[in-house]
C-alpha cells in the first residue's frame, strides 16, 4: 500500500486537520500550530509527487526544503505578532480580536 494515493491522503488529512484547527482553535498559538500542519501536508504532497511522478528527484526536495524555511519564518513572524497582541490585550484568544467588523 506504499502508493501515491496513500501519501496524498495522509497529506490531505494533515492539511484538513490543520485547516480545521485554524478554523476552530481560539488559541492563536494553536492556530499557528495548525498552519504548520497545513504546510506539512503540502510538503508531504511535494515529496510524494517527487517520489512517484517527477522526472527530477531533487526538485521536490528543494521545494519541501524551502517550504520548511518559509514555515520557520512564518512561525517567527506569527509568534512575534501574537506576542505583540498579547502585550496589548493580555490574551491570545482570537475571539478577543473582533472589534473591527461590518
Amino acid at each position: 500500500m506504499n502508493s501515491l494515493s496513500v501519501y496524498l491522503t495522509v497529506a490531505a488529512v494533515l492539511f484538513s486537520l490543520g485547516l480545521f484547527g485554524v478554523l476552530m482553535r481560539r488559541n492563536l498559538i494553536g492556530m499557528l500550530i495548525s498552519i504548520e500542519l497545513m504546510l506539512n501536508g503540502a510538503n508531504l504532497n511535494f515529496m510524494a509527487f517527487n517520489r512517484f511522478l517527477a522526472p527530477e528527484p531533487a526538485v521536490g526536495q528543494i521545494m519541501a526544503l524551502f517550504i520548511m524555511g518559509i514555515a520557520a519564518a512564518e512561525a517567527a513572524i506569527g509568534l512575534s505578532i501574537i506576542l505583540a497582541l498579547f502585550r496589548r490585550l493580555r490574551s491570545i484568544n482570537v475571539e478577543r480580536a473582533q472589534r473591527l467588523r461590518g
Binding site: A11, F15, G18, L19, V22, L28, M31, L32, I35, M38, L39, G41, A42, N45, F46, A48, F49, L53, A54, P55, V59, G60, I62, M63, F66, I67, I70, A73, E74, I77, G78, I81, I82, A84, L85, R88, L89, V94, R96, A97, Q98, R99, L100, G102
Partner: protein, 473 residues
C-alpha cells in the same frame, strides 16, 4: 552567462533596502531626513525602472523572466512605492523611531513584488510572494497607538498564512500533474491534463494566494479590517502597489489554462460576480472611508477579473490598463485621506464635510478619483471598465457585463455619499483648513490631469498594455 543588467531595478531596491536597514541601526534617525531620502530614492527607483522598461531576457536558469509584461508591472510597483513615500511626510501612523524600518520593509516589499511579477517558476513565485506578504504582515501592526486596531495584524497574518498554505498545496498539485515548476512548461503541459480534477484544482488553489493579495471573494476577508486597522500610508501601499503584483500573477496563472476548461471559466465568472456584488453591497453601509475603500477594492478585484477571465489578449491588456487606472485612482483617494487626517487617525466619511471649502483641490481630486472608481467618464476608471467590458463582450459574456454595470451603479451610490460629504455637508464642528504643502498640490494636480488625460487619450496606454500582454505565452 547571466545578464545582470536585467536585474537592475531589483538590485536597486535591494540597495535601497540596505540603506534603510543601515538607517535603522542609527541611534536617532530624523524622520524628515528619512522622508526626504525615501522620496528621492523612490523617485530614482521609478526612473531606474522606467529606464529598464525595454529590457528582455531570462535570468537564473530561466526561472526569472524579464519582459515587457513584467517591466510594465514593475513600473506600476515603482510608481506605487513612489506614491506612498510621497505621502509619508506626516507619518504619524508609525512611531517615529520605527520610520527607518517602515521604509525598509516598504522597499523589501516592493522588491519582492518586482521579483514576483518576473518570476516564472513556482518556487520563486512562492518565496517572492511570501517575502512581500511578510513585509506587509509586519507593516500592518506597526501602527502607532493602535490599541483599537491591534487585532488587525493577527487577522491579516492568519488569513494570509492560510491562503498561502492553500496556495502551496495547490502548487503541489500543479507540480504533481505537470511534473515541473516552470510556468512555461506548465502552460505547455496543462491543457492536455486539464480534464483531470487535480489540474484545475491546483490552478485554482494556487490562484488563491494571489486572489488573497487582490482581495477577491472569498479571499477578501482580511481587506476591510486591514485597510481600517493599518496606518494610512500602509493601507495606501496595500491598496495600490500590492494589488498590482497580484493582478500580474493572476493574469499569469489564469493564462495557464488557456481557456480550455469551461468550468474553470465559470468558476472565475462566479468569483468575479460574487466579488463585485459583495464588495459593493457591503460598502454601502460603511462609515469609515478606508473600510469603504476596502470593500470597493474587493469589488474592483471582481472587475479586473472580468478582463482576465476572457483569456484573450484584449482581456489581459484591459486588465493591465485597469490595474493602472486602479492604482492611480485609489492612490488619489488615499492621498486625500492622508492629507485630511494628518494625525493619522482613521477618517470617517462625515469628517470630510466641507472639504470643498477646506481644500478645493483635494476635494476635486477626491471627487474625480471616486467618479473614476465608479467608472464615470472621462476618467481613466471609465476607460478601464470600458476596455474590460469590451473584452468580455468580445467573448460573449453579456450577462456578466450587465451585472458588472449594475454593480457599477450600486457602487456609484456610496461613492456619491462620500462626494456628498465632501461637497455638500456642512461640517458639524469646525475642522479648520487642511494643510496642503506645495508638493501635495503638484501631486494633486498631476493626479487630476493624469486621471483625465489617460481617460481621454487612452490610445497610447492601451497600446502599451497590449504590447505588454503580447509577450505572455
Amino acid at each position: 552567462m547571466m545578464k545582470w543588467t536585467l536585474f537592475t531595478p531589483e538590485l536597486y531596491y535591494v540597495a535601497v533596502a540596505s540603506v534603510f536597514f543601515l538607517c535603522s541601526l542609527e541611534k536617532k534617525a530624523d524622520p524628515r531626513r528619512l522622508y526626504r531620502w525615501a522620496v528621492i530614492l523612490a523617485g530614482v527607483g521609478l526612473a531606474v525602472t522606467v529606464a529598464c522598461a525595454r529590457m528582455e531576457g531570462f535570468l537564473f536558469f530561466d526561472s526569472y523572466k524579464v519582459d515587457l509584461f513584467s517591466q510594465v508591472f514593475k513600473i506600476f510597483l515603482a510608481l506605487g512605492m513612489f506614491f506612498v513615500t510621497m505621502v509619508c511626510s506626516e507619518l504619524y501612523g508609525i512611531e517615529p523611531r520605527k520610520h527607518a524600518e517602515f521604509y525598509f520593509l516598504l522597499s523589501i516589499c516592493t522588491l519582492a513584488m518586482m521579483m514576483l511579477v518576473s518570476a516564472v517558476e513556482l518556487l520563486t513565485i512562492y518565496i517572492a510572494l511570501e517575502l512581500s506578504s511578510y513585509s506587509l504582515y509586519l507593516l500592518v501592526p506597526m501602527r502607532h497607538r493602535a490599541d483599537e486596531y491591534v487585532e488587525t495584524g493577527i487577522k491579516y497574518f492568519m488569513v494570509g498564512a492560510t491562503a498561502s498554505a492553500l496556495m502551496i498545496f495547490g502548487m503541489s498539485y500543479l507540480f504533481g500533474i505537470t511534473h515541473t515548476t516552470y510556468v512555461a512548461d506548465i502552460i505547455r503541459k496543462l491543457p492536455e491534463v486539464l480534464n483531470q480534477p487535480a489540474a484545475v484544482v491546483g490552478l485554482l488553489l494556487a490562484l488563491g494566494g494571489f486572489f488573497f493579495k487582490q482581495a477577491l471573494f472569498p479571499f477578501h476577508i482580511w481587506a476591510p479590517d486591514v485597510y481600517q486597522g493599518a496606518a494610512n500610508q500602509v493601507t495606501t501601499y496595500i491598496a495600490t502597489a500590492s494589488k498590482m503584483a497580484a493582478a500580474a500573477m493572476v493574469i499569469r496563472f489564469v493564462g495557464m489554462s488557456t481557456g480550455q476548461s469551461e468550468v474553470f471559466i465559470q468558476v472565475l465568472v462566479a468569483l468575479s460576480i460574487l466579488s463585485m456584488t459583495f464588495g459593493n453591497l457591503v460598502a454601502i453601509v460603511q462609515k469609515d472611508i478606508k473600510r469603504l475603500l476596502a470593500y470597493s477594492s474587493i469589488a474592483h478585484a471582481g472587475y479586473m477579473l472580468i478582463g482576465i477571465l476572457c483569456m484573450t489578449q484584449r482581456g489581459y491588456s484591459s486588465a493591465v490598463y485597469y490595474a493602472l487606472a486602479y492604482l492611480v485612482m485609489n492612490f488619489a483617494c488615499f492621498m486625500v485621506i492622508i492629507k485630511v487626517a494628518p494625525d493619522g487617525h482613521n477618517l470617517q466619511i462625515k469628517e470630510l464635510a466641507g472639504l470643498h471649502k477646506r481644500s478645493p483641490l483635494l476635494a476635486m481630486t477626491l471627487m474625480l478619483a471616486l467618479f473614476g472608481l465608479a467608472g464615470i467618464p472621462p476618467t481613466l476608471g471609465f476607460t478601464g471598465k470600458f476596455l474590460v467590458f469590451a473584452a468580455a463582450l468580445e467573448k460573449g459574456y453579456l450577462m456578466l457585463v450587465i451585472i458588472g454595470m449594475i454593480n457599477a451603479t450600486i457602487s456609484l451610490y456610496y461613492y456619491l455619499i462620500v462626494i456628498k460629504a465632501a461637497y455638500l455637508l456642512e461640517p458639524v464642528r469646525e475642522y479648520g483648513p487642511v494643510r496642503v504643502d506645495p508638493w501635495t498640490r503638484v501631486m494633486s494636480a498631476a493626479l487630476v490631469i493624469a486621471m483625465v488625460y489617460v481617460g481621454i487619450f487612452p490610445d497610447r496606454f492601451v497600446a502599451l498594455a497590449e504590447a505588454a500582454v503580447s509577450v505572455l505565452p
